[in-house]
Subunit: 203 residues, 2 copies
DNA sequence: GTCTATAGCGCGATAGAC
DNA sequence: GTCTATCGCGCTATAGAC
């Protein structure tokens, strides 16, 4: 425990390097040699600590997905927080996390495409969303609307996550620098809840 | 010309197969052997018609990106169409196209991450967006808002594209079947413009 | 635990017969 | 144009010295 925190163990160095290389290139394009080099050590150690490239990848991926769970844990089912404030908290937490890990959503979504259920099953979040108090609140707020309330859940996620997924395009097409992009994203922490509220009231 | 349309040439068969395999697996995970098999022919023919895997990929990718351009060509700069109607047309065209090619956005965005400018440069759409009449209209509509009007361009794209990017997750977490998903998406053809309008007016 | 060296194999690409 | 057979490389994984 204390020892690990002191010397940042070899195992942790490898994981750090793997996180970086996998996130940048995806599973198939990433090479174990890249990861070893990034970690400043030999290739053979990767297979000593983790049995294979695939096992290392799974560990990283699970941890990445957990970041999405952790960021809203404790918020979703807090029954004393009204919807608008809840959306504000969710946006704020997610955007802060995504500014630090901007490649995360695109990485997760593109790697999930190949085998969606293998990884999701292992997390046990299958019905999680629909059972949450948050989803009940959306339903309640959208009940005077004639459309499926799932749309508003999708829209909220879209406003929070999409800019990060599309950032390579935005930056290139719009000629936006990294710090401008970050500034724009931080502005959205307050705006998303306002926009969601407006959509819920729209007619 | 006429000949090609009649027999659906070998070259076209390969491109069709490549489109499918690349879109499903991404460049690195796709194998030329898969493409050849999918096209019902031998691996050697791939290199006879296209010099290499990379050249074949580039051709497919360019065509894919073109689909996004084609879907809004003629709309963006039509000065006689008011903003709300323009957003309706854009949503409608894009959603129709995306229902037919649901994997397209995730494919393009994840492959673009590696080399953003190499492919975009070849298309000459660099300043395209900001010069468009559509963008001027957004600016005009958002001028009483205190925030960067770029947000509203991002939001519109988010509402249209994000559900398709996140569909593997939505389907798994939300237990949504393919035809339910398609039905939901088609509903959005009319809704997006309404929502964008509401966000523009929000305070 | 960490290294070097290499096994073993799957990949993209090509030579050459038809 | 289309096939079979094969080259040669680069990858993951492992054996074995230290």
């Amino acid at each position: 425990m204390a020892k690990k925190e002191l010397d940042l163990s070899t195992e942790e160095k490898i994981k750090e390097a793997a996180r970086k290389v996998f996130t940048e290139k995806g599973f198939s394009a990433a090479r174990t040699r890249d990861i070893a080099e990034e970690a400043g050590m030999n290739l053979a150690l990767l297979n000593y600590y983790f049995r294979s490239k695939e096992r290392l990848f799974d560990i990283i991926m699970i941890e990445n997905i957990q970041k999405f769970v952790v960021a809203v844990k404790g918020i979703l089912n807090n029954e004393s927080v009204p919807l608008k404030m809840k959306v504000e908290q969710i946006s704020s937490n997610y955007i802060d996390m995504l500014v630090l890990n901007p490649d995360l959503p695109l990485f997760i979504l593109s790697e999930l495409r190949a085998n969606p259920e293998r990884l999701i099953d292992r997390l046990g979040v299958k019905g999680f969303l629909f059972k949450s108090h948050y989803f009940k609140q959306i339903k309640e707020a959208a009940k005077n609307q004639e459309v499926n309330s799932l749309h508003f859940f999708i829209n909220t996620m879209a406003l929070i996550v999409f800019p990060f997924v599309a950032s390579p395009l935005l930056k290139t097409i719009g000629d936006i620098k990294q710090d401008e992009f970050t500034k724009l994203m931080l502005e959205r922490k307050k705006l998303v809840a306002k926009w969601v509220e407006a959509m819920l009231k729209a007619k």
